[in-house]
């Protein structure tokens, strides 16, 4: 079961089964202690942040940097997909994949939040010209 953890040095909050060994912000070792979800909400709720289409575009570039995949150079395709991803967020609450339908089971549908874990999908894994199911990410050439 995933829990919330707080760095006692810098107040970073982590959500996961285990706390990080080293705090990624202050780099202190073994700095995390379990906290309640209410506390976690209070800490993270202090800063408002939004991710618009331009931010998301930059984020997927950054995410693919140094990875074995890249954002598809087909600009039109990417634009269509981003349109879909953002419409999903507007209409269905999360940035869901525009090429697969949600089941309405929140846990299951987390697998459809973009970017999904496409590295294990048959359209990508062990394929030289692999791509994510929608073709937003393709294997780096």
């Amino acid at each position: 079961m995933k829990k919330f953890w707080r760095c006692h040095v810098c107040n970073d909050v982590h959500y996961g089964v285990n706390p990080p060994e080293v705090c990624p912000t202050c780099l202190v070792k073994k700095a995390y202690m379990e906290i309640s979800s209410e506390e976690a909400k209070k800490i993270s709720g202090r800063s408002e942040s939004t991710v618009d289409k331009v931010d998301f575009r930059k984020a997927i570039e950054k995410f693919s940097e140094g990875n074995q995949f890249q954002v598809n150079p087909d600009k039109k395709r990417v634009e269509t997909l981003l349109e879909g991803i953002f419409n999903c967020e507007k209409n269905h609450g999360m940035k869901y994949c525009p090429c697969r339908l949600i089941t309405k089971n929140f846990e299951d549908d987390l697998k459809l939040v973009c970017p999904c874990n496409f590295r294990i999908h048959e359209t990508y894994k062990n394929k030289e010209d692999g791509e994510c199911w929608c073709g937003l990410f393709i294997r780096r050439q």
């Binding site: 269509t80 997909l81 991803i85 209409n91 339908l101 089941t103 048959e122 929608c134």
Partner: protein
Amino acid sequence: MNKLLMFHGRECPHCIAMMPHVDRLEKETGVEIERLEVWHNEKNADLMRAYREIIEPKCGGQLRTPTFMNTETNDILCGEIKYEELEDWATK
């Protein structure tokens, strides 16, 4: 309801790529395929979800778009496919 359905998403590149094939198929063979958009129409989405048990085993365990479904035979195709394959499915 028509017996041949196409569940598609407005911003799904696979669906966008398949649309001209569907248009051509209807024109050339006279069959009709009911196009049901699922990301902007909850009724269509619920219908697709209602067919989960039939669709998922044939589409990688997911409700992928596009999904072509014959509601009489439960014949399913999903993703981008060749025109000939679509024609076979529709005229079988």
